[in-house]
Amino acid sequence: MAISVGYSVMIILICAACTQLERALPFLIFGRKPVPKVVYYLGRILPMAVMATLVVYCLRGMTFTALENFAPQLIAVAVTAGLHLWEHNTLLSIFGGTACYMLLVQLVF
């Protein structure tokens, strides 16, 4: 431990408080009064946009300087999506895509 126990505990408490505050913020602001129409609209439309953002977030480490830095991700995403459009089985798509990715990064690239 490079720092004191007290300071370590304080770091944990600050990080926990900040994260939980952000999770609670929409409920603190809009919890008691009727939700404004535009917020209700955002609540309905955002999940798809956020999920697309999270996919970009997961792939943000890709660089196009060498094949091994982007090909495994793109191939595995294509396999996941292909499996899902074909069979519509969530678990099959996820485990198939993950197995493909593991094979690619461990054995191919």
Binding site: M1, A2, I3, S8, M10, I11, I12, I14, C15, A16, C18, T19, E22, R23, A24, L25, P26, F30, V38, V39, Y41, L42, G43, R44, I45, L46, P47, M48, A49, V50, M51, A52, T53, L54, V55, V56, Y57, C58, L59, R60, G61, P72, Q73, A76, V77, T80, A81, H84, T90, L91, S93, I94, F95, G97, T98, Y101, M102, L104, V105, Q106
Partner: protein, 235 residues
């Protein structure tokens, strides 16, 4: 109850697969920094945010000033502000469990909540509470396990964390199929890629979400029609 439990367990399996290597890695790094599995457990159960917890290792190593810690943790997890917007009305039905649902509103719990499909004989509230419970449990248990015996694991699990990427891809595909329009996803991807080019890969997510929200609000008249279709499917 058994049916709800089984269903919740089944839909959290991909998250279990993704959290296994991430949690182990985190526990090992904490152990190497001089924090045993109890510290790891305390951090995981109170913060419950993977990316911030990895960043906290820097705070532990260098004793960053309080102001820096506050700003960094607020910025890193700012996307969570947007998650609650979709559940302001819904969580009112959860009674005291509402606070647990807000506390556990991570990327993974959020994606499960967004992808819930009613099951015959199942109860949405129970399944969602159990699913979030599993997510909290996996993260806490695997990270503590990393601190306890991480060095004993010898088989190669490189790449298993792709399970989380695959989970988000699958949920996105389902949402695009069910909605009348794929435009929200297209807006988010374009905004994400542009923001990576402008702000860099490690800082893009907040500006990207702000731009996406602004564009979605701008195109509200057109997109409200999409929602009318989605609403019909819900009922």
């Amino acid at each position: 109850m058994k049916r709800n439990l089984l269903y919740a367990f089944k839909r959290t399996l991909p998250i279990m697969a993704g959290f296994f290597p991430l949690g182990l890695a985190y526990g090992i790094l904490m152990f190497n920094a001089g924090y045993n599995f109890l510290w790891t457990g305390l951090t995981s159960v109170t913060v419950l945010a993977g990316s911030l917890q990895f960043l906290m290792l820097d705070f532990f190593a260098g004793g960053a000033p309080v102001f820096t810690i506050i700003v960094m943790s607020l910025l890193l997890n700012s996307r969570h502000i947007f998650y609650g917007l979709s559940f302001i009305e819904d969580f009112k039905k959860y009674g005291p469990w509402k606070y647990f649902m807000i506390y556990s509103l991570s990327d993974e719990s959020y994606s499960l909540l967004c992808s819930y499909k009613p099951q015959e004989g199942g109860d949405a509230k129970t399944v969602n509470i159990l699913s979030s419970g599993f997510v909290v449990f996996y993260w806490t248990a695997f990270s503590m396990l990393g601190g306890l015996l991480g060095k004993l694991i010898t088989f190669d699990i490189t790449g298993i964390d792709f399970a989380l990427t695959a989970l988000f891809v699958v949920i996105l595909l389902d949402q695009m199929r069910d909605a009348g329009s794929k435009l929200p996803a297209a807006i988010a991807v374009v905004s994400g890629v542009l923001c990576i080019l402008v702000f860099g890969a490690s800082n893009f997510i907040l500006p990207s979400l702000v731009v996406t929200v602004a564009v979605l609000v701008f195109f509200r008249p057109q997109l409200e029609r999409t929602l009318a279709v989605m609403k019909k499917e819900d009922e």
